[in-house]
């Protein structure tokens, strides 16, 4: 019997490590500029709004809405063979940035643009937890 290969584990860039450390603690934290107060994603060490390097990771609400989404029917990697059809969504957080994620707790036919969602954490192993989202109140 062949085992289904595991889903890929994120391989963080150095500037993303605080994001993944927070996720491990079940916090959603994004880079924020201490000078112009803006959040952004994906993480980088320079604020893309004002090029300040005065940057820290701050917790965000974990709430947002679906900006757009797609439903994978094709199996691109064997690890996802049992998941199809599954939704990959772009969630716009209350703080502004948009993050790529999966939507859990709802069938793919019922996902909609503008649907309110909130973060949940999917523990991959003892080291890594992956932020995902579910409809608010699900």
């Amino acid at each position: 019997m062949t085992e289904t290969p595991r889903k890929p584990k994120p391989r963080p860039a150095p500037e993303s490590l605080p994001y993944w450390q927070a996720a491990k603690e079940h916090r959603l934290a994004l880079p924020k500029c201490e000078d112009c107060s803006q959040f952004w994603f994906p993480p980088s060490r320079t604020c893309p709004h004002c090029l300040s390097t005065n940057v820290s990771f701050q917790n965000v609400s974990g709430r947002g809405k679906v900006f757009s989404f797609v439903t994978f029917h094709r199996v691109y990697r064997p690890a996802f063979a049992e998941d199809v059809p599954y939704v990959v969504a772009l969630v716009e957080l209350e703080e502004g940035p948009r993050v790529l994620t999966n939507i859990l707790g709802v069938t793919h036919e019922d996902v909609r643009c503008e649907m309110p969602v909130e973060v949940v954490f999917d523990d991959y192993d003892e080291e890594v937890s992956i932020p995902k989202f579910r409809p608010v109140g699900a």
Partner: protein, 401 residues
């Protein structure tokens, strides 16, 4: 706003309009060409283009060619096989926007004395790569490992250009009520054009029922929303309008070009529903002194059906959000209001990262097609290139001399 940010936008110079012409164009064999390579195909297309122009390799002193993403200094390898020491030679790397940028760069280089006659081309061997053996069939990935995302994608099962573009399709459907019937009409129209083109990879008719029966890949895209995996190369030869007058073919003038890159990202702002075709097109129109109402045929970068629909809006052929009804009117068909991708496009002729769009634009401007393939009385062709991380765009406007 300070004085610097208020300074007027510099535009592609109108002095470049009509200074150069495309004097030769050709493709390689297209579609499934086992036993060849992207370099072989590139040289095949260039030889054919030189024959078309009545020129020899020794007449070429510039090479602006590009190959698959994992080929290093592709232009040098091409020039070597052509036996050319090129005065001006490089590869641009801006995805599917590179090919029109190469033509634009050729015009600038010729105008400012860097070269006299430049070959621009693109080649890929994607069909062979993805069908060579079972392993690559399953993996279905032509990009080198170093180009693949390491985080914020693969852990969610997010892979490939189909999904990236499908995000835009979903958003457009949400905002404007666009439907899969609209996307289907694009696939069906281009297939109908491909059936008139003996070179086209796809030979079977496609109905709207066939379109809806096609298996879903990444919804809202099914298999017929997706462009082909092709072995394909195309080339054009650019020289000054003055030199062009003495050559074999009726010269096709380069009237305008523009580029724009929504480099803040496909997922940022409204970029997935208003593409950089808007700014690239406006720049090209201004350089050419033309507008959308002057365009007789459009050859649009059709990596996915939706990308045609949104670009038609961004180029001003209809209002934003009205692309669905516009295509449903039959406008894109040969004989319609704006015959589009008249050789079948990347959805049905072959996918050559926009290079075949340039080739087809040139051929339509020559008026040498048989009646069933010719856009009647066409004087102006607009061609688009799109690519990179879905954000890079280029526009070329051609006209009859």
């Amino acid at each position: 706003m300070n004085a610097f940010t208020q300074s007027p936008l510099i535009e592609p110079s109108r002095e470049l309009r009509d200074t150069c012409a495309i004097v030769g164009t050709a493709t390689s064999r297209l579609g499934k060409v086992p036993g060849t390579s992207s370099l072989d195909l590139m040289v095949e297309a260039i030889r054919n283009a030189l024959d078309d122009a009545g020129l020899k390799a020794s007449d070429v002193d510039g090479v602006l060619c590009r190959g698959p993403d994992d080929s290093y200094s592709h232009h040098q390898l091409v020039a070597e096989r052509l036996g050319v020491n090129a005065r001006f030679s490089t590869t641009l790397t801006n995805g599917g926007a590179s090919q029109i940028m190469s033509v634009a760069l050729a015009v600038m280089a010729i105008r400012f004395g860097m070269a006299n006659t430049i070959v621009c081309g693109f080649a890929r061997d994607t069909w062979s790569r993805t069908h060579a053996n079972e392993e690559v069939r399953v993996r279905n990935e032509t990009r080198p490992e170093s180009m693949l995302a390491r985080e914020f994608g693969p852990e969610y099962g997010y892979y490939g250009a189909t999904a990236a573009h499908a995000f835009g399709a979903t958003r457009h459907m949400h905002l404007y009520g666009t439907t899969r019937d609209h996307f289907g009409e694009i696939a069906v129209a281009f297939r109908e054009h491909a059936l008139r083109n003996p070179q086209a990879q796809m030979k079977k008719p496609l109905s709207i029922e066939d379109y809806h029966a096609g298996r879903l890949i990444v919804a809202p895209f099914g298999m017929f929303d997706c462009s082909l995996r092709s072995d394909a190369a195309g080339a054009v030869i650019v020289t000054s309008a003055a030199r062009a007058k003495d050559l074999r073919q009726p010269p096709v003038l380069i009237k305008g070009f523009g580029t724009h890159n929504n480099t803040r990202g496909w997922f940022a702002d409204d970029n997935m529903v208003v593409t950089a075709a808007k700014q690239a097109g406006e720049a090209a129109y201004r350089m050419a002194g033309l507008g959308p109402q002057d365009v007789d045929t459009a050859q649009i970068y059709d990596c996915f059906t939706y990308m045609v629909l949104t670009q038609l809006e961004d180029y001003g052929f209809c209002k934003k959000g009205e692309g669905g009804p516009f295509v449903a009117s039959g406008a894109l068909r040969l004989g319609g209001a704006l015959p589009c991708n008249t050789s079948g496009g990347q959805l049905s002729e072959s996918h050559c990262e926009g290079m075949l769009q340039i080739v087809e634009g040139v051929r339509q401007m020559r008026h040498t097609y048989p009646e069933h393939r010719q856009v009647k009385d066409a004087e102006i062709a607009l061609i688009s290139g799109h690519g990179g991380n879905q954000v890079c765009h280029s526009t070329l406007i051609l006209g009859r001399a």
